[in-house]
């Protein structure tokens, strides 16, 4: 229904903390306001940490969606 088109996708499946967090921050640093970053993860802790960290950076978490067994996608709006 509300298909959000990500500007960029990073696949962090298989990575454990802090690699997904660090890669997410690096990717966000290169993006412009209004763009959307999609992060694919399968590590449970990252599902909690990435949204928390991203919000402290001032960006907006649009969605944390379960896409499979222990797999999630996080959509972040760059501010």
């Amino acid at each position: 229904m509300d298909e959000i088109k990500p500007t960029k996708t990073i696949n962090e499946c298989g990575e454990v903390c802090p690699v997904p967090d660090v890669d997410t921050k690096r990717a966000l640093g290169k993006m412009k306001p209004g763009e959307i970053l999609e992060v694919l993860i399968d590590y449970p802790l990252s599902k909690e940490r990435i949204p928390a960290t991203v919000e402290r950076m001032g960006h907006e978490v649009l969605k944390v969606e379960e896409t499979g067994p222990s797999e999630w996608r996080i959509l972040i709006l760059v501010k």
């Binding site: 454990v16 903390c17 940490r49």
Partner: protein, 352 residues
Amino acid sequence: MIGPLLGILCGIILGVILQRGRVCFNSAFRDLYLVKDNFMFKAGLLAIALTAIGFLAMAQFGLIKLAPSVLNWGGVIVGGLLFGMGIVLAGGCASGMSYRIGEGNTTSIVAGLVYGLSAWASGSGALKPLKAWAANLSVTMQNPDPAIYNTGEKVSIGPTLSSILNMNPWVVTLVFAAIIFAYLFLTKTTKREGANMQWWVIGIALTLVNMLTYYLSATFAKRQYGLGITAGWTNILQTWTLSQNGTETAPSLNFAGGIVVGVILGALVAALVKGEFKWRTPREGKYYAYAVLGGIMAGFGANFAAGCNIGHFLTGSSLLSVASLVASIFFILGNWIMSRIMFGAPDRDIKA
């Protein structure tokens, strides 16, 4: 026989807490520096403050004997630094790599096995003289009060904050806890809204399982200590490998080994129930190499320092052991040094 089973029971409870709470001391230390996140560090500190009071009360009531580690300056400093650096490379501390095995993480299986072998090897064979030499630098403590401290023919204990200050352990423990509480409740805590367990829930849960473990271990396994991971890994590997070659007598699984078996089982069950189990392989093979290298460093470090983030940081600090407190400081320093090498400078654009 009851000893190892009780170890497994304590381990299962710990494993469930670690998996549900995502308790990772590697990230607790690292995030303080890298992203100014104190959530997990506060969980650990709360556990230490509460456990310190709990252990002393249990000793006062005659349920356990306190056994603070012998202080070996070389061991806690060099071993502490190596352990701290190794866990960043291995992608998890001693407890973190153990519970992630239960989540199906293959890198952690490699790291855990190498960690146990390295800790074992560091105390035997060609490296034995090094350990024996370092042991000469050990500082022991005369038992100040056999009613509450561990005593016995071959038992050595190390200095505590109360012994070096020559003060009543209750006074020092309560001041120690009060200082921690001041930090916990007077400084801002990083929010983690999506977390299954808030930091104070994790702290209380770790305290209860550590007190239960100390009591059961002291009463039924003649092991006067709370939670620990490293000795358990060594025990499991000895049980397993020495029974294969037949020339040496293999030890049987002990209480400490039971804890590690339990942590893996508890985390496995918790992950399965919540649909978080998955065989996980890293995208790049180099992470296995990091796990091997990190496991070797952390195993050697933990053996030299005579403990890991659980045995020293969580349990030993609660005994006010000087060895454990110094080791913990060097775990954190080593962790920060390696985090800086691997992940670069801390971010300035993140608000605390």
